[in-house]
């Protein structure tokens, strides 16, 4: 850098300025061009486009008409949208705490060295993450099935009715189980990695003061890895509210339970590709985006405040 400046000293002021500009602005942006072009085309442009068309309506007479926020007002009063939100929020409130709680317990157990066979557990728990969510939904769909599923087969051996995994009441827990099965190991690895980065001297000092393993976990480890836990929670909030693959696959074997608006994302898909209501579908997608943002924001606000009080 310095060498360049020294050389440039001999040049005229104008070419010096050009030289500096090229080095400070031109070059970094030149390197960023491939990413920024694709990013603009596949992130910024679709978002802007969706926002744009969500403000229009396709009329039989007159074609595309600007209607302002009317589509959004319609979403506000759309029972289908809110039913989808209700399903995903229920999952959010029940399944996500269970999943993250399990992930934290596993991470703490594996990190503390209490259990044996730690590598086996770490890899075994993580394995479901490696397979496509479509295939895990297919797999669990078979396991839930009342004719080839092993649970129904076991029940029939004991002359019990087949468990109602795919009924109205059973569907949300069944979906929650698929998500838990697939993502617990992933969240565990993130927390485990954060735990491994904590210096063990911190606990050794606490131990000398007579702290038990539980105290160390509760008062030292968990607060120290709080950022990692919050990260997993935010990713889970985003993922759960956007649920699509699992209900979409299960709907093929339980079409009467999973209607086309079971989750907001499924609803947006149906609106666009079955009903060809692109404008309204974009409004639903955006409304979902807003809901996701609100939930993530409230969550971060709450955890931030909790952190400061402590």
């Amino acid at each position: 850098m310095q060498q360049q400046l020294v050389k440039a000293d001999h040049a005229t002021p104008a070419s010096l300025r050009w030289h500096l500009w090229r080095r400070r602005v031109g070059l970094p942006y030149l390197f960023l061009v491939p990413f920024l072009v694709l990013f603009a085309f596949f992130f910024i442009l679709p978002l802007g486009y969706a926002l744009g068309i969500s403000l229009f309506a396709d009329r039989l007479v007159g074609g595309s008409v600007f209607i302002g926020i009317q589509n959004y007002l319609q979403v506000l009063h759309d029972g289908n949208f809110w039913e989808g939100i209700r399903h995903t929020v229920l999952l959010l409130l029940v399944q996500v705490p269970i999943m993250l709680g399990l992930a934290l317990i596993f991470a703490l157990l594996l990190d503390s060295g209490v259990a044996r066979l730690r590598t086996l557990f770490r890899l075994g728990f993580f394995l479901p993450y490696a397979i496509p969510s479509v295939i895990s939904a297919l797999l669990w769909g078979y396991l839930y099935s009342s004719n080839i599923g092993p649970f129904a087969q076991l029940a029939s051996i004991f002359h019990l009715p087949a468990p109602g995994f795919l009924t109205d009441a059973g569907m949300l827990p069944s979906l929650g189980n698929i998500v838990t099965w697939q993502w617990t190991g992933y969240n565990m690895i993130i927390m485990f990695a954060a735990l491994q980065a904590v210096s063990p001297e911190l606990y050794d000092a606490a131990r000398v003061d007579g702290a038990t393993g539980w105290d160390v976990a509760r008062y030292i480890k968990i607060p120290l890895i709080a950022p990692a836990i919050i990260l997993t929670a935010v990713f889970s909030i985003i993922g759960t509210l956007q649920l699509f693959n699992e209900p979409s696959i299960l709907s093929t074997i339980a079409s009467s339970v999973i209607q086309d608006h079971y989750t907001p994302n499924l609803y947006a898909y149906t609106l666009a590709f079955t009903n060809q209501q692109y404008n309204y579908s974009a409004a639903v997608s955006f409304a979902l985006g807003i809901v996701v943002f609100i939930f993530s924001y409230i969550f971060m606000l709450v955890t931030n405040r909790g952190g400061r009080q402590r």
Partner: protein, 305 residues
């Protein structure tokens, strides 16, 4: 322990865990191990079912107990069915998935590495703002993008072509973030300055000095994008309608739909089951072989946030 050789703190683990085990005592250790074993069974049970079921005939799927093998062993018959059904379209899907994943992974990783390196090692006007926008994109719900991406792609006539899957997959904001964090830690400024003094151009410095140091991070992002594309369902479902362009996920979901609808083709159940097994084997093998890369990737992601 060798498995997490990349994690920075791994060297400290044995000392602390040995001390803890001594304190914990035998009964606590047994209790914790049994607790984890129960969950291991839960996590591995569907895999076991899948392996067992892919050795059965269609009739046996219904008549024999799902969690144990049938008297006869039909795996090879099923495998040949998978690869010959529908005039061998499964092999096309397998090829498509591999092709989309490799091209997306290599392209996205190169682009993200270049961008992450620039954000880490150059100060330029707009740096904070542009990076903040990219970070914000990690939080954007994929749904808000899917339908407009479909509409845009159809406007420029790319719908129903491999590019419709590959081009959007080339953008990895998370990859840029990971590479920035990695480059900040791994590439010393002095080294870059030394190369500049020697008169090397910036592109040459990136290509032959920085990229070599960034290799571990590069492989991590490569792996993450590869798996993301391999497992992608929503995007290809939207943008592809010709079965000969389908990836495995969309193809298998399609077969499953036909199997569930009946359609007189009972054969399909065994094909979907065995096809699922075939499509996850490469991923599982890859994950087990390349553990240290994805584990270090997740470590970087969580530590800096």
């Amino acid at each position: 322990m060798a498995t997490i050789a990349k994690a920075p703190a791994s060297a400290q683990v044995p000392a602390s865990s040995a001390g803890q085990v001594r304190r914990a005592g035998w009964s606590l250790q047994a209790l914790a191990t049994v607790f984890l074993l129960i969950f291991l069974i839960y996590f591995l049970l569907p895999f076991f079912w899948l392996i067992v079921s892919s050795t059965k005939t269609n009739a046996e799927l219904f008549t024999t107990f799902g969690l144990w093998f049938a008297p006869d062993f039909n795996l090879f018959r099923n495998l040949s069915d998978v690869f010959t059904y529908d005039s061998g379209v499964f092999l096309t899907w397998l090829w498509n998935t591999t092709y989309y994943s490799i091209v997306s992974a290599v392209g996205a990783t190169l682009i993200a590495t270049l961008a992450g390196y620039v954000f880490a090692k150059f100060r330029f006007p707009g740096r904070t703002l542009v990076f903040a926008i990219i970070l914000g994109a990690i939080m954007v719900p994929a749904t808000a993008l899917a339908v407009p991406t479909y509409l845009l792609l159809s406007k420029i006539g790319l719908i129903n072509t491999p590019l419709a899957v590959i081009l959007p997959s080339l953008v990895s904001p998370f990859g840029v973030y990971l590479m920035r964090v990695y480059a900040e830690q791994a590439v010393p400024d002095d080294l870059l300055d030394a190369a500049r003094v020697d008169g090397a151009g910036e592109l040459r410095i990136f290509w032959s000095v920085a990229l070599r140091i960034l290799m571990p991070g590069f492989v991590t992002v490569l792996l993450l994008v590869f798996v993301g594309t391999w497992n992608n369902y929503f995007l290809p479902l939207l943008v592809l309608s010709n079965p000969s362009f389908y990836p495995l996920t969309v193809g298998l979901a399609n077969w499953n739909q036909q199997a569930s609808a009946g359609g007189g083709s009972q054969l399909l159940y065994t094909i979907v089951v065995t096809g699922s097994l075939v499509s996850i084997v490469p991923l599982i093998v890859g994950f087990l072989c390349l553990q240290r890369y994805w584990q270090s990737g997740l470590t970087f992601g969580s530590m800096k946030s």
